[in-house]
Protein backbone atom coordinates (compact mmCIF):
# COMPACT_ATOMS: atom_id res chain seq x y z
CA UNK A 1 0.00 0.00 0.00
CA UNK A 2 0.91 3.57 -0.37
CA UNK A 3 3.53 4.50 -2.89
CA UNK A 4 6.05 6.73 -1.18
CA UNK A 5 9.42 7.57 -2.58
CA UNK A 6 12.81 8.86 -1.42
CA UNK A 7 13.57 12.38 -2.61
CA UNK A 8 16.07 15.12 -1.84
CA UNK A 9 15.09 18.48 -0.38
CA UNK A 10 16.37 21.27 -2.64
CA UNK A 11 14.39 24.28 -1.41
CA UNK A 12 12.36 25.21 1.66
CA UNK A 13 9.63 27.82 1.86
CA UNK A 14 9.18 28.19 5.62
CA UNK A 15 6.29 30.61 5.45
CA UNK A 16 4.07 28.27 3.44
CA UNK A 17 5.46 25.10 5.03
CA UNK A 18 6.46 23.78 1.63
CA UNK A 19 9.65 22.10 0.41
CA UNK A 20 10.76 21.49 -3.16
CA UNK A 21 12.00 17.96 -3.50
CA UNK A 22 13.93 16.32 -6.31
CA UNK A 23 13.51 12.75 -7.46
CA UNK A 24 16.18 11.99 -10.07
CA UNK A 25 15.79 15.30 -11.85
CA UNK A 26 12.04 15.62 -11.41
CA UNK A 27 11.01 18.33 -9.00
CA UNK A 28 7.82 18.78 -7.09
CA UNK A 29 6.53 20.76 -4.16
CA UNK A 30 5.75 18.85 -1.01
CA UNK A 31 3.91 19.99 2.08
CA UNK A 32 5.89 20.02 5.32
CA UNK A 33 2.77 20.17 7.46
CA UNK A 34 3.41 16.68 8.85
CA UNK A 35 6.94 17.54 9.91
CA UNK A 36 8.38 19.69 12.66
CA UNK A 37 9.98 22.53 10.74
CA UNK A 38 13.36 22.46 12.45
CA UNK A 39 13.70 18.80 11.40
CA UNK A 40 14.05 19.34 7.67
CA UNK A 41 17.03 21.02 6.03
CA UNK A 42 18.11 21.50 2.44
CA UNK A 43 20.05 18.42 1.32
CA UNK A 44 18.08 16.05 3.54
CA UNK A 45 16.60 12.89 2.08
CA UNK A 46 12.91 12.52 2.80
CA UNK A 47 10.05 10.20 1.98
CA UNK A 48 7.40 11.75 -0.28
CA UNK A 49 3.80 10.50 -0.25
CA UNK A 50 0.92 12.07 -2.20
CA UNK A 51 2.38 15.56 -2.00
CA UNK A 52 3.58 15.40 1.61
CA UNK A 53 6.91 14.81 3.25
CA UNK A 54 6.07 11.97 5.62
CA UNK A 55 9.46 11.52 7.26
CA UNK A 56 13.15 12.14 7.02
CA UNK A 57 15.43 9.30 5.93
CA UNK A 58 18.04 8.41 8.53
CA UNK A 59 21.26 8.51 6.53
CA UNK A 60 23.35 6.67 9.11
CA UNK A 61 20.85 3.79 9.17
CA UNK A 62 20.74 3.68 5.38
CA UNK A 63 24.54 3.57 5.20
CA UNK A 64 24.61 0.82 7.84
CA UNK A 65 22.28 -1.28 5.69
CA UNK A 66 24.44 -0.70 2.62
CA UNK A 67 27.49 -1.77 4.62
CA UNK A 68 25.74 -5.03 5.61
CA UNK A 69 24.85 -5.67 1.97
CA UNK A 70 28.44 -5.15 0.91
CA UNK A 71 29.58 -7.67 3.51
CA UNK A 72 27.13 -10.38 2.48
CA UNK A 73 28.01 -9.92 -1.19
CA UNK A 74 31.72 -10.22 -0.33
CA UNK A 75 30.96 -13.34 1.72
CA UNK A 76 28.98 -14.82 -1.17
CA UNK A 77 31.73 -14.09 -3.67
CA UNK A 78 34.38 -15.54 -1.34
CA UNK A 79 32.26 -18.67 -0.85
CA UNK A 80 31.76 -19.02 -4.59
CA UNK A 81 35.50 -18.71 -5.09
CA UNK A 82 36.21 -21.37 -2.48
CA UNK A 83 33.56 -23.58 -4.04
CA UNK A 84 35.13 -23.17 -7.47
CA UNK A 85 38.55 -24.19 -6.10
CA UNK A 86 36.99 -27.16 -4.31
CA UNK A 87 35.16 -28.28 -7.43
CA UNK A 88 38.33 -27.98 -9.44
CA UNK A 89 40.13 -30.13 -6.85
CA UNK A 90 37.45 -32.78 -6.91
CA UNK A 91 37.18 -32.90 -10.62
CA UNK A 92 37.95 -36.51 -11.63
CA UNK A 93 39.12 -35.51 -15.07
CA UNK A 94 41.64 -33.07 -13.74
CA UNK A 95 44.76 -32.84 -15.81
CA UNK A 96 43.22 -34.35 -18.88
Amino acid sequence: MCLSIPSKVVKIDKENEVATVDTMGVQREASLSLMSQEDIKIGDYVLLHIGFVMNKIDEAEALDSLEIYKEIIDAMNEEDRQMAILEADECPNRGE
Binding site: M1, C2, L3, I5, T23, M24, G25, V26, Q27, R28, E29, L48, I50
Partner: protein
Protein backbone atom coordinates in the same frame (compact mmCIF):
# COMPACT_ATOMS: atom_id res chain seq x y z
CA UNK B 1 -17.80 -4.77 -24.37
CA UNK B 2 -19.01 -2.08 -21.99
CA UNK B 3 -22.19 -0.21 -22.88
CA UNK B 4 -20.31 3.06 -23.09
CA UNK B 5 -16.85 3.93 -24.33
CA UNK B 6 -14.47 4.74 -21.50
CA UNK B 7 -11.19 6.65 -21.67
CA UNK B 8 -9.42 3.33 -21.22
CA UNK B 9 -10.66 2.27 -24.68
CA UNK B 10 -8.16 4.69 -26.20
CA UNK B 11 -5.13 3.63 -24.20
CA UNK B 12 -3.30 1.69 -26.90
CA UNK B 13 -3.55 -1.36 -24.66
CA UNK B 14 -6.03 -4.10 -23.98
CA UNK B 15 -9.31 -2.17 -23.95
CA UNK B 16 -8.25 -0.40 -27.10
CA UNK B 17 -7.57 -3.72 -28.83
CA UNK B 18 -10.95 -5.03 -27.75
CA UNK B 19 -12.74 -1.99 -29.14
CA UNK B 20 -10.91 -2.26 -32.45
CA UNK B 21 -11.51 -5.95 -32.92
CA UNK B 22 -15.12 -6.06 -31.71
CA UNK B 23 -16.38 -2.95 -33.44
CA UNK B 24 -14.17 -1.86 -36.32
CA UNK B 25 -12.57 -5.08 -37.54
CA UNK B 26 -15.97 -6.75 -37.33
CA UNK B 27 -17.45 -4.22 -39.74
CA UNK B 28 -14.48 -3.47 -41.97
CA UNK B 29 -12.87 -6.92 -42.09
CA UNK B 30 -10.51 -7.44 -45.02
CA UNK B 31 -7.15 -9.03 -45.62
CA UNK B 32 -5.09 -5.84 -45.54
CA UNK B 33 -6.68 -4.51 -42.35
CA UNK B 34 -6.28 -7.83 -40.57
CA UNK B 35 -2.52 -7.71 -40.89
CA UNK B 36 -2.62 -5.06 -38.12
CA UNK B 37 0.52 -3.31 -39.29
CA UNK B 38 1.50 0.28 -38.56
CA UNK B 39 0.55 1.17 -42.13
CA UNK B 40 -1.44 -0.75 -44.74
CA UNK B 41 0.55 -2.09 -47.67
CA UNK B 42 -1.44 -1.51 -50.86
CA UNK B 43 -1.07 -1.32 -54.61
CA UNK B 44 0.85 -4.57 -55.10
CA UNK B 45 3.15 -3.84 -52.22
CA UNK B 46 4.34 -0.59 -53.69
CA UNK B 47 2.61 1.85 -51.36
CA UNK B 48 2.12 2.22 -47.62
CA UNK B 49 -0.96 4.06 -46.34
CA UNK B 50 -1.73 5.20 -42.80
CA UNK B 51 -3.83 7.64 -40.77
CA UNK B 52 -3.67 9.03 -37.26
CA UNK B 53 -5.51 11.65 -35.19
CA UNK B 54 -3.89 13.88 -32.60
CA UNK B 55 -5.68 15.15 -29.50
CA UNK B 56 -2.78 15.76 -27.15
CA UNK B 57 -3.17 18.03 -24.14
CA UNK B 58 -1.35 20.33 -23.56
CA UNK B 59 -0.81 21.38 -27.18
CA UNK B 60 2.73 22.63 -26.54
CA UNK B 61 5.09 20.63 -24.37
CA UNK B 62 8.79 20.16 -23.81
CA UNK B 63 10.36 18.82 -26.99
CA UNK B 64 7.42 19.19 -29.39
CA UNK B 65 3.88 20.35 -30.04
CA UNK B 66 0.74 18.85 -31.58
CA UNK B 67 1.87 19.92 -35.08
CA UNK B 68 5.21 18.17 -35.00
CA UNK B 69 3.47 15.18 -33.45
CA UNK B 70 0.86 15.06 -36.22
CA UNK B 71 3.50 14.83 -38.93
CA UNK B 72 5.88 12.52 -37.06
CA UNK B 73 3.08 10.18 -36.06
CA UNK B 74 1.86 9.44 -39.57
CA UNK B 75 5.27 9.57 -41.25
CA UNK B 76 6.71 7.22 -38.64
CA UNK B 77 3.92 4.71 -39.26
CA UNK B 78 4.91 4.73 -42.94
CA UNK B 79 8.63 4.48 -42.16
CA UNK B 80 7.91 1.45 -39.95
CA UNK B 81 6.79 -0.41 -43.09
CA UNK B 82 10.02 0.41 -44.90
CA UNK B 83 8.35 3.22 -46.82
CA UNK B 84 9.47 6.73 -47.61
CA UNK B 85 6.76 9.25 -46.58
CA UNK B 86 5.60 11.17 -49.69
CA UNK B 87 2.10 12.67 -49.53
CA UNK B 88 0.09 13.72 -46.50
CA UNK B 89 -3.38 15.08 -45.90
CA UNK B 90 -4.02 17.45 -43.03
CA UNK B 91 -7.43 17.87 -41.51
CA UNK B 92 -8.08 20.05 -38.48
CA UNK B 93 -11.03 20.51 -36.13
CA UNK B 94 -10.71 23.78 -34.26
CA UNK B 95 -12.68 25.02 -31.27
CA UNK B 96 -14.04 28.53 -31.74
CA UNK B 97 -11.96 31.14 -29.98
CA UNK B 98 -8.67 29.39 -30.65
CA UNK B 99 -5.77 31.84 -31.09
CA UNK B 100 -4.64 32.27 -34.71
CA UNK B 101 -1.11 32.80 -33.47
CA UNK B 102 -1.07 29.37 -31.88
CA UNK B 103 -2.50 27.78 -35.02
CA UNK B 104 0.23 29.45 -37.01
CA UNK B 105 2.86 28.11 -34.64
CA UNK B 106 1.45 24.60 -34.98
CA UNK B 107 1.40 24.75 -38.78
CA UNK B 108 4.96 26.07 -38.95
CA UNK B 109 6.09 23.21 -36.83
CA UNK B 110 4.30 20.80 -39.21
CA UNK B 111 6.09 22.36 -42.17
CA UNK B 112 9.49 21.90 -40.57
CA UNK B 113 8.84 18.25 -39.88
CA UNK B 114 7.49 17.60 -43.40
CA UNK B 115 10.82 18.85 -44.76
CA UNK B 116 12.76 16.37 -42.64
CA UNK B 117 10.66 13.57 -44.14
CA UNK B 118 10.73 14.97 -47.65
CA UNK B 119 6.93 14.80 -47.72
CA UNK B 120 4.28 17.32 -48.77
CA UNK B 121 0.68 18.03 -47.75
CA UNK B 122 -1.49 17.56 -50.83
CA UNK B 123 -5.01 17.85 -49.46
CA UNK B 124 -6.71 19.17 -46.36
CA UNK B 125 -9.85 20.10 -44.52
CA UNK B 126 -10.79 22.66 -41.86
CA UNK B 127 -13.74 22.58 -39.48
CA UNK B 128 -14.53 25.02 -36.69
CA UNK B 129 -16.89 23.82 -33.96
CA UNK B 130 -18.63 25.57 -31.05
CA UNK B 131 -16.74 26.02 -27.81
CA UNK B 132 -16.66 22.81 -25.80
CA UNK B 133 -17.13 20.49 -28.80
CA UNK B 134 -13.42 19.70 -28.97
CA UNK B 135 -10.50 20.49 -26.71
CA UNK B 136 -8.84 23.46 -28.54
CA UNK B 137 -7.71 21.64 -31.68
CA UNK B 138 -7.67 18.09 -33.03
CA UNK B 139 -5.55 17.21 -36.06
CA UNK B 140 -5.81 14.24 -38.38
CA UNK B 141 -3.13 13.36 -40.89
CA UNK B 142 -3.13 10.55 -43.42
CA UNK B 143 -0.09 9.66 -45.43
CA UNK B 144 1.09 7.68 -48.40
CA UNK B 145 4.63 6.39 -48.62
CA UNK B 146 6.59 4.61 -51.29
CA UNK B 147 7.76 1.20 -50.11
CA UNK B 148 11.52 1.03 -50.57
CA UNK B 149 11.99 -2.27 -48.76
CA UNK B 150 9.34 -4.91 -49.22
CA UNK B 151 8.37 -7.64 -46.78
CA UNK B 152 8.77 -5.84 -43.45
CA UNK B 153 6.02 -7.29 -41.28
CA UNK B 154 5.36 -7.95 -37.63
CA UNK B 155 3.86 -11.34 -38.54
CA UNK B 156 7.13 -13.05 -39.49
CA UNK B 157 9.43 -12.66 -36.48
CA UNK B 158 11.33 -15.86 -35.66
CA UNK B 159 14.13 -17.29 -33.54
CA UNK B 160 16.63 -15.91 -36.03
CA UNK B 161 15.78 -12.39 -34.93
CA UNK B 162 17.12 -10.14 -32.20
CA UNK B 163 15.06 -7.38 -30.61
CA UNK B 164 16.56 -3.89 -30.55
CA UNK B 165 15.34 -0.54 -29.29
CA UNK B 166 16.65 2.66 -30.87
CA UNK B 167 16.92 4.83 -27.73
CA UNK B 168 15.97 5.31 -24.08
CA UNK B 169 12.25 4.81 -23.64
CA UNK B 170 9.25 6.60 -22.13
CA UNK B 171 10.28 10.24 -22.62
CA UNK B 172 7.13 11.39 -24.41
CA UNK B 173 4.65 9.87 -21.97
CA UNK B 174 6.64 11.12 -18.99
CA UNK B 175 7.03 14.65 -20.43
CA UNK B 176 3.30 14.87 -21.14
CA UNK B 177 2.47 13.76 -17.61
CA UNK B 178 4.79 16.39 -16.16
CA UNK B 179 3.07 19.04 -18.30
CA UNK B 180 -0.43 17.97 -17.22
CA UNK B 181 -2.45 19.97 -14.83
CA UNK B 182 -2.82 18.57 -11.35
CA UNK B 183 0.52 16.79 -11.29
CA UNK B 184 2.56 19.92 -10.60
CA UNK B 185 5.99 18.57 -11.36
CA UNK B 186 8.88 20.17 -13.18
CA UNK B 187 11.81 18.57 -14.97
CA UNK B 188 14.09 19.21 -17.91
CA UNK B 189 12.72 16.11 -19.63
CA UNK B 190 11.79 16.45 -23.29
CA UNK B 191 9.47 14.42 -25.48
CA UNK B 192 11.34 12.09 -27.82
CA UNK B 193 9.07 13.21 -30.69
CA UNK B 194 11.13 12.81 -33.87
CA UNK B 195 10.79 11.67 -37.46
CA UNK B 196 12.14 8.16 -37.78
CA UNK B 197 12.49 7.94 -41.54
CA UNK B 198 16.16 9.08 -41.52
CA UNK B 199 17.03 6.24 -39.11
CA UNK B 200 15.10 3.66 -41.13
CA UNK B 201 16.75 4.89 -44.33
CA UNK B 202 20.23 4.56 -42.81
CA UNK B 203 19.45 0.95 -41.82
CA UNK B 204 18.08 0.10 -45.25
CA UNK B 205 20.99 1.78 -47.03
CA UNK B 206 23.34 -0.49 -45.07
CA UNK B 207 21.29 -3.54 -46.14
CA UNK B 208 20.41 -4.52 -42.59
CA UNK B 209 18.11 -7.56 -42.70
CA UNK B 210 15.04 -6.11 -41.00
CA UNK B 211 12.15 -8.43 -40.14
CA UNK B 212 9.89 -5.94 -38.35
CA UNK B 213 9.77 -2.35 -37.13
CA UNK B 214 7.21 -0.66 -34.93
CA UNK B 215 7.16 2.70 -33.22
CA UNK B 216 6.23 2.38 -29.57
CA UNK B 217 3.51 5.02 -29.30
CA UNK B 218 0.54 4.57 -26.94
CA UNK B 219 0.97 1.47 -24.83
CA UNK B 220 4.72 1.87 -25.06
CA UNK B 221 7.35 -0.76 -25.65
CA UNK B 222 5.36 -3.36 -23.75
CA UNK B 223 2.41 -3.03 -26.15
CA UNK B 224 4.70 -3.43 -29.20
CA UNK B 225 6.42 -6.52 -27.80
CA UNK B 226 3.11 -8.11 -26.85
CA UNK B 227 1.60 -7.39 -30.27
CA UNK B 228 4.60 -8.97 -31.93
CA UNK B 229 4.61 -12.00 -29.64
CA UNK B 230 1.00 -12.57 -30.50
CA UNK B 231 1.15 -11.79 -34.24
CA UNK B 232 4.22 -13.94 -34.87
CA UNK B 233 3.27 -16.62 -32.32
CA UNK B 234 6.57 -16.37 -30.45
CA UNK B 235 7.88 -15.75 -26.95
CA UNK B 236 9.98 -12.62 -26.56
CA UNK B 237 12.48 -12.75 -23.69
CA UNK B 238 13.83 -9.41 -22.58
CA UNK B 239 16.65 -8.68 -20.14
CA UNK B 240 15.04 -6.06 -17.94
CA UNK B 241 18.29 -4.26 -17.12
CA UNK B 242 19.17 -3.83 -20.77
CA UNK B 243 16.15 -1.61 -21.50
CA UNK B 244 17.51 1.95 -21.54
CA UNK B 245 15.58 4.37 -19.30
CA UNK B 246 16.83 7.84 -18.40
CA UNK B 247 17.06 8.91 -14.77
CA UNK B 248 14.31 11.48 -15.16
CA UNK B 249 11.88 9.01 -16.69
CA UNK B 250 12.76 6.69 -13.82
CA UNK B 251 12.04 9.53 -11.39
CA UNK B 252 8.60 10.16 -12.88
CA UNK B 253 7.84 6.45 -12.87
CA UNK B 254 8.81 6.26 -9.20
CA UNK B 255 6.69 9.24 -8.34
CA UNK B 256 3.57 8.05 -10.11
CA UNK B 257 4.02 4.30 -9.93
CA UNK B 258 4.37 3.80 -13.68
CA UNK B 259 6.43 1.34 -15.66
CA UNK B 260 8.62 3.03 -18.29
CA UNK B 261 7.72 0.21 -20.69
CA UNK B 262 4.06 1.30 -20.60
CA UNK B 263 4.75 4.97 -21.33
CA UNK B 264 4.06 6.39 -24.79
CA UNK B 265 6.86 7.36 -27.16
CA UNK B 266 6.87 9.40 -30.37
CA UNK B 267 10.40 8.82 -31.63
CA UNK B 268 11.21 5.43 -30.20
CA UNK B 269 10.88 2.23 -32.17
CA UNK B 270 11.49 -1.44 -31.69
CA UNK B 271 13.30 -3.50 -34.31
CA UNK B 272 13.46 -7.20 -35.04
CA UNK B 273 16.55 -7.82 -37.18
CA UNK B 274 18.40 -10.96 -38.18
CA UNK B 275 20.95 -12.05 -35.57
CA UNK B 276 23.97 -11.53 -37.78
CA UNK B 277 23.03 -7.90 -38.40
CA UNK B 278 22.10 -6.94 -34.84
CA UNK B 279 25.41 -5.37 -33.83
CA UNK B 280 25.70 -3.49 -37.08
CA UNK B 281 22.15 -2.13 -36.73
CA UNK B 282 22.91 -0.86 -33.23
CA UNK B 283 26.07 0.83 -34.49
CA UNK B 284 24.18 2.59 -37.29
CA UNK B 285 21.48 3.79 -34.89
CA UNK B 286 24.12 5.12 -32.50
CA UNK B 287 25.23 7.46 -35.28
CA UNK B 288 22.05 9.52 -34.62
CA UNK B 289 22.30 12.05 -31.77
CA UNK B 290 19.07 10.88 -30.12
CA UNK B 291 20.04 7.21 -30.31
CA UNK B 292 23.24 6.99 -28.28
CA UNK B 293 21.47 4.47 -26.02
CA UNK B 294 20.44 2.14 -28.87
CA UNK B 295 20.87 -1.46 -27.76
CA UNK B 296 19.69 -5.03 -28.12
CA UNK B 297 17.15 -5.92 -25.46
CA UNK B 298 15.94 -9.40 -26.15
CA UNK B 299 15.63 -12.58 -28.12
CA UNK B 300 12.96 -14.95 -29.41
CA UNK B 301 12.22 -18.33 -27.80
CA UNK B 302 9.27 -20.69 -27.53
CA UNK B 303 9.01 -20.81 -23.72
CA UNK B 304 5.62 -19.06 -23.42
CA UNK B 305 4.15 -18.49 -26.88
CA UNK B 306 2.39 -15.16 -27.42
CA UNK B 307 3.92 -13.83 -24.20
CA UNK B 308 6.69 -11.42 -23.28
CA UNK B 309 8.98 -12.36 -20.40
CA UNK B 310 11.17 -9.98 -18.46
CA UNK B 311 14.28 -11.56 -16.95
CA UNK B 312 16.07 -10.08 -13.97
CA UNK B 313 19.78 -10.13 -13.24
CA UNK B 314 19.10 -12.23 -10.15
CA UNK B 315 17.58 -15.08 -12.06
CA UNK B 316 13.84 -14.50 -11.77
CA UNK B 317 11.39 -13.85 -14.55
CA UNK B 318 7.93 -12.41 -14.95
CA UNK B 319 5.49 -11.53 -17.67
CA UNK B 320 5.50 -8.08 -19.20
CA UNK B 321 1.87 -7.61 -20.13
CA UNK B 322 0.01 -5.22 -22.40
CA UNK B 323 -0.84 -2.10 -20.41
CA UNK B 324 -4.48 -1.97 -19.43
CA UNK B 325 -6.79 0.66 -18.05
CA UNK B 326 -6.47 4.38 -18.07
CA UNK B 327 -2.92 5.34 -17.12
CA UNK B 328 -3.45 6.56 -13.58
CA UNK B 329 -0.86 7.40 -11.01
CA UNK B 330 -0.52 4.52 -8.61
CA UNK B 331 -0.98 6.02 -5.21
CA UNK B 332 -2.20 3.21 -3.10
Amino acid sequence: MNKTISLACGNGGEENNELISKVFYKAFKNEILEKSEDAAIIHNGKLAFSTDSFTVSPLFFAGADIGKLAVCGTCNDLAMMGAKPKYLTCSVIIEEGFATRELDKIVRSMKKELEINGAIVVSGDTKVVPRGSVDKIFINTSGIGEVIKKGISSNNISKDDIIIVNRDIGCHGAAIFVAREGIEMTSSLKSDCESLYPQVKALLDANIKITALRDATRGGVSAVLNEWASQSNICIEVEEESIPVSDEVKGICEMLGFEATALANEGTFVLAVKKEDADKAVEILKGFPSCLKATTIGKITDTHLKKVILKSSWGTSRFLDTPSGELLPRIC
